[in-house]
Amino acid sequence: MSSLGNIMKKEIRELLTPGTLIPIIIFAIIFGSLGNAFGGATEKFDDPPIIGIINQDGSAISKLVYADFTARSNVVYNGTDFQEGIDVVMANDGAALFVISDNFGQNISENKSGVIQVYWIMNGAGLMDSFTSASADVVLQAVTMDLSRALIDTHYTDNSTVILSPINATQNTIFKGTQMDGVSPGMISAVMTGQGFIVPLIVVMVVIYAGSMVVTSMGSEKENKTLETLLTLPVRRTSIVFGKLAGAAIVGLILAAIYMVGLGYYMNSLTSGASLDLAQYGISLSIFDYVLVGISLFLSLLSALALCMILGIFTKNYKAAQTMTLPVTMLALIPMFVLMFSDFDTLPPLAQVLVFAIPFSQPIIAINSLMFGEVAIVLLGIAYEVAFALATMFIAVYLFKKDILLTGRVKSAHSKKGWRSFLVPRKPK
């Protein structure tokens, strides 16, 4: 073998370890699953949207529009009661309620656009949550074009303005049960995206940075053999674990504060054009809410650090520590991506359980839930984070008292294959 090939083979052997491959494979599987979820959403987009219609106008034109809506959609309500219509559409997981105004036909005959009040149903602020309203919007556009054609064909009017835009759709949104008049789903999405992205990004950045600090610190301590000295000093193992965690947590919180300021300015600049103030609809965070989000964020950080401490216990040196952070990084990225595409409330039950089980999801769920006054799920999340952090810290302290801390996890030639190989420490050199 040539020298180049020899070196290349050695490098590949060193770098292509199960520790490197497994997280990447899991990551690929998760992205594949997300792709399938999008595929499902796209298929849903192809289905006729579920809508409700109230026709307050008895004119021939409004009947034409009503018939067109019915042909292009799955109409689940066609009565006259607004509240009933909203309730039925929401109960059927529908996209919108269209109210054809009582002077629709008269307006067009007077060369004015006919008014249709649209009440979009929005159950979440994720990207996938906007798919249903988008499909209903497509139907509205199609109905508008059909009406334009009909006006031309029947020579009903020769006013080009009315022919080009015969329908004036007024946008209203029922966002998680709150009615917002004059507000489109797009406006809400823009504002919610701005507010809802800061926390997930902070969680991911802090978990990655602070987590890698802990793992690499353990790797360095082992490589430099400073850990052996530390363990023989008159200091309890719990003090070593908590000291390391506390140090990394403080640095993590400083990082979080810096990110929060930076991202806050960044998101404000992105959403400065949005005129929608969600606070006027009662969708805002109080001081108490911010405290809860802060607690959730801190516990999330603590859980990440304790998890990284456990991974650090298994690392052999600084180099190995670099790849050890991958699993925790992925755990932080999963809730960020999933909750970016779909609101926690609109996820399938199994996905909800999986996302909830990841402690890093909690601050993201918290900020979205608290905006709508859903405190119970946030408190439940905090309780879960406390339990998770305590359990991982307990495991870290336990492992700190075991040989495995110094001997590492390797397959022993004397051990059987399987789980036993994870538990049998190697004999130190």
Partner: protein, 237 residues
């Protein structure tokens, strides 16, 4: 009272038996050496006695404290210097000594630090970062760290490995002086000359068992050898 009492100590790594029931004792103020070939169990013995590894079976008492049940008490009276030990490279030498001294709040940390500075004998270089030190300077700092606390028992693994003659001699002198002041020293070494020069008694360990114990003179007489190296070869053959 013996500083170290080891009785039938067994240490297993899974199914591999690294120590197969070793027994020895070391008196207070004694310098006791463990010698043996690679993989014989020297470092494992020192790591067990330093509370780093769990005891599989057997009984170990250090300074009268049970190693398993009173590990926290044991750590207060021992000092362990691993082979190839390192220090926190981004710290200054003096800060490293202060960092270690702060773990011994019940003692006079100022006096401890002064002793550490004296043992390290690094002069103004103590104010430099450790990553700028040569191997010899770093080892002197670590020996100072280990001895400045005046431990009842100093466990020193391969004390002078990789050091030049001058550095090695200086460190041996420091350890001998510390032992004269009452510290018991348990050391392991491949350097037979070092063992002969420093140790009051030695134990030869092979394949996880102690195969001979005695003073260098006794062992040389017993195996009719002119030096410890010959004793070693004779015993492990």
């Amino acid at each position: 009272m013996a500083a170290i009492e080891v009785h039938d100590l067994v240490k297993k790594y899974g199914e591999l038996e690294a120590l197969r029931g070793i027994t020895f004792s070391v008196s207070e103020g004694e310098v006791f050496g463990l010698i043996g070939p690679n993989g014989a169990g020297k470092t494992t013995t020192l790591r067990v006695l330093a509370t780093l590894l769990e005891v599989t079976s057997g009984e170990v008492k250090i300074g009268g404290y049970d190693l398993v049940k009173q590990a926290d008490q044991v750590r207060k009276i021992i000092s362990y210097l691993p082979e190839d030990a390192g220090a926190y490279k981004n710290m200054k030498g003096i800060d490293y000594l202060k960092f270690i001294a702060n773990f011994f709040n019940d003692q006079n940390t100022k006096e401890m630090l002064e002793r550490g500075i004296k043992v390290a004998n690094l002069g103004e270089r103590l104010d430099d970062r450790i990553d700028t030190y040569s191997k010899g300077m770093q080892r002197r700092l670590l020996v100072a760290r280990a001895l400045m606390i005046r431990p009842k028992l100093a466990i020193l693994d391969e004390l002078t490995t990789g050091l030049d003659v001058l550095n090695a001699q200086a460190i041996r002198k420091t350890v001998k002086e510390t032992a004269r002041q009452g510290t018991t020293v348990l050391l392991s070494s491949h350097n037979m000359l070092e063992v002969e020069l420093m140790c009051d008694r030695i134990a030869l360990i092979n394949d996880g068992r102690i195969v001979a114990t005695g003073s260098p003179q006794e062992l040389k007489a017993k195996y009719n050898a002119s030096n410890i190296e010959d004793v070693f070869v004779e015993v492990v053959r």
